[in-house]
């Protein structure tokens, strides 16, 4: 069992505080959804956990099995088992999907030297094993063969980019996955495929944080907990029914309730 514990996380971007003290515990095997209006800090939370250099940690901790992720470089967080499916994935022209996946898997399997400065010990995945794994995952996600020879996200449609994020998640087998608005910009068919890909990742060993603006994806991916993020704070936590309530009443009702309660 793993757990991701976010404690009193305060994050700023270019001097402006975006997250105002997030506390959240996610155990492996569970799926948490974070919903919130635009500008509430949803993407900031995902990018801060992964270590984007633009996001400054003002205070707080993100403990993954007791290790403070915020002290680790980005790649070490990935190798510790954290995966972020990006809302806006970058293109890497000239590097094919297959090449990227295999190189990344091998980079993740390589053992850093004990002192952190010497030669990295390689432990490459044999090519036949890689091919088999890739074929399985592509079949699972209904991805066409031609996909893997194209350059990473280069000229990809919105749906293709999201599908590649899900394929990467399946190939890397992380212990904890953050999906940042993976549903945005998808038509209903693409949404179903992506949602099935997320559902297929569910296991007692994997924790997930699903960040979304809309309730739509939660018809296909069923979270154990739903949190509402407003102005950089989690203001409500509930079950699946909270998402339906948000969908029917909009975010204003939460905000109104929040500020009325304070007054």
């Amino acid at each position: 069992m793993s757990s991701l514990k976010i404690r009193d996380l305060v994050v700023s971007v270019e001097g402006k505080t975006i997250l105002n003290g997030i506390d959240l515990v996610i155990e492996s095997g569970s799926v948490h959804a974070i919903m919130g209006p635009n500008g509430s800090g949803k993407s900031t939370l995902s990018l801060a956990i992964m270590g984007h250099p633009k996001y400054k940690i003002v205070r707080g901790q993100v403990l993954f099995d007791g290790v403070n992720l915020l002290k680790l470089p980005v790649d070490a967080r990935a190798r510790a088992g954290i995966f972020l499916a990006f809302q806006y994935p970058s293109a890497i022209p000239g590097v094919s999907v297959a090449n990227f996946l295999r190189t990344a898997i091998n980079a993740r399997r390589a053992a850093p030297s004990a002192d952190g400065a010497g030669e990295v010990k390689k432990n490459d995945m044999p090519i036949p094993q890689f091919r088999k794994l890739l074929a399985e995952k592509m079949k699972l996600l209904g991805i066409d063969d031609s996909f893997i020879t194209r350059s990473v996200n280069d000229g990809f449609s919105g749906g293709e980019k999201k599908r590649l994020e899900i394929l990467q998640m399946h190939m890397f087998q992380p212990r904890f996955a953050i999906l940042d608005e993976t549903d945005s910009g998808l038509d209903i068919d693409a949404l179903k495929v992506v949602a099935e890909g997320i559902e297929a990742m569910r296991s007692p060993d994997v924790g997930m944080l699903l960040i979304t603006h809309y309730e739509r994806i939660l018809r296909y991916v069923h979270p154990d907990f739903v949190h509402v993020l407003v102005d950089g704070r989690i203001v409500r936590t509930g079950g699946r029914e909270l998402a339906a309530e948000l969908e029917s009443k909009g975010y204003d009702f939460v905000r109104e309730a929040l500020y009325a309660g304070r007054a």
Partner: protein, 424 residues
């Protein structure tokens, strides 16, 4: 005969006797000696760049290597002219230039005249044409003959301080097809001059690819020149790879001399330390519906500097041509620099397209972050992005062996992280 020995403007001493002795010692025929002397006549004080020329303003011609300008090295050790049996049977000639001059004098004679090109490079062309030595080569492909396997010349100059002056002449007759790869390496670290002078003639309908890989040692000052001539309906591609450790100032001229010719000029620069790689190109676009496109990509490490001055001239006699010049520079250290300068001279209104694009910048933070979030450390992520950047040019090469040769040349600079997983 003019001697430059007394002329203070020209820092290299070169005279008639020196050229004649060089030719006599090598046992060359008289006509070849005369061609060398004709080249010497072009080595005049006026030909030497003053530094005021646009092409030479950013490359100071000082501290010329002091080693001998005449090399007594007649053959590069280990050089091989391997030709597939079908090509030999079809009359393809692929030899050292002196050997070809002795065996096929009528062919070499018609192409040995001193080369023309960008005026401010005339002195260095003349130098190479007058005193060429080991490493010079000649390729002739008869009309209609297709050479399937790339011709590969591994030219390794042994350590020394003598100048490395060479000529490469490629003649592809009508409707023929050939790829020549020249991989230029030198040993030792002594200051030394190199002038590889390359002339490629693509006949009507010919398909020619020229790949020049430079892996010169530190201390080498490379003042090479290349001229590509394209007859009608020909398809000519060139790739220059700057992967060595010396300084380079290379002039490249492409002349379209007929309708419907297609020219693609590619370049890769992988430089570090205090290297300065300065390329100036001249794309002369003429004929009806011809096309000339240039794409140079640089990955610059440490304090390396890439300078690119490129001129496209669309001639008044042309109709409906297309041309482009693109120069992209990736700065991988805060001290690295790039100076891309594109110039267009469009002398007709009858143009389909003509343009340029030039950039110089660091790796994108978002791309680095994305790659690192997949488990690549910063160094590996950088390697991956540079590799992808270069792939845009490398993928233009059709032959996998040639691609691998280019990758192996740039590997010492850009690393091999992205190659370890090569599948497609």
């Amino acid at each position: 005969m003019a001697s430059t020995a007394a002329l203070t403007q020209v820092p290299l001493l070169l005279d008639h006797r020196m050229v004649e002795q060089h030719s006599l010692r090598r046992g060359e025929p008289k006509w070849l000696r005369e061609a060398r002397l004709e080249a010497l006549d072009r080595f005049t004080p006026d030909a030497w760049p003053t530094g005021e020329e646009e092409e030479w303003r950013r490359f100071p011609l000082k501290d010329l290597p002091a080693g001998p300008i005449v090399s007594t090295l007649d053959h590069l050790p280990g050089i091989q002219f391997k030709l597939e049996p079908e090509a030999t049977a079809a009359g393809v000639i692929f030899k050292g230039l002196l050997r070809a001059s002795l065996d096929n004098p009528e062919l070499v004679r018609s192409h040995i005249a001193p080369g023309d090109g960008i005026p401010s490079h005339a002195a260095f062309r003349a130098l190479a044409d007058a005193l060429w030595s080991a490493g010079s080569s000649f390729v002739h492909v008869p009309a209609g003959v297709e050479v399937r396997q790339p011709l590969v010349l591994e030219k390794v100059w042994p350590a020394g301080d003598d100048a490395m002056l060479s000529r490469t002449i490629v003649v592809a007759e009508r409707d023929s097809s050939v790829t020549l790869v020249e991989d230029l390496t030198s040993d030792g670290e002594a200051p030394r001059l190199a002038v590889p002078h390359v002339e490629v003639h693509a006949g009507a309908g010919a398909r020619v690819t020229y790949v020049g890989i430079r892996r010169f040692a530190p201390g080498v000052l490379d003042l090479g020149f290349q001229r590509f001539r394209s007859a009608r309906d020909s398809d000519l591609r060139s790739l220059n790879v700057f992967a060595g450790e010396g300084r380079s100032k290379v002039g490249i001229e492409s002349d379209i001399e007929g309708d419907g010719a297609v020219v693609k000029l590619f370049g890769l620069v992988a430089a570090g330390d205090n290297q300065r790689i300065d390329v100036n190109s001249f794309q002369r676009v003429d004929g009806r519906s011809s096309q000339s496109d240039l794409l140079y990509l640089s990955a610059l490490y440490e304090r390396a500097k890439a300078i690119f001055y490129g001129l496209i001239r669309v001639e008044p006699t042309s109709h409906g041509t297309g041309s482009y010049q693109e120069c992209r520079n990736m700065l991988l250290s805060p001290e690295a620099g790039a100076d891309p300068i594109p110039v267009l001279e469009i002398l007709t209104n009858d143009v389909v397209r003509c343009g340029h694009g030039a950039t110089a910048g660091a790796l994108g933070d978002e791309e680095l972050f994305y790659a690192m979030s997949r488990g690549f450390d910063r160094d590996a992520a950088q390697q991956l992005l540079v590799h992808g950047f270069f792939r845009r040019v490398i993928n233009e090469l059709k032959d996998e062996h040639v691609r691998q040769r280019v990758l192996s040349a740039v590997r010492p600079r850009i690393g091999n992280i992205a190659e370890m997983g090569v599948l497609v």
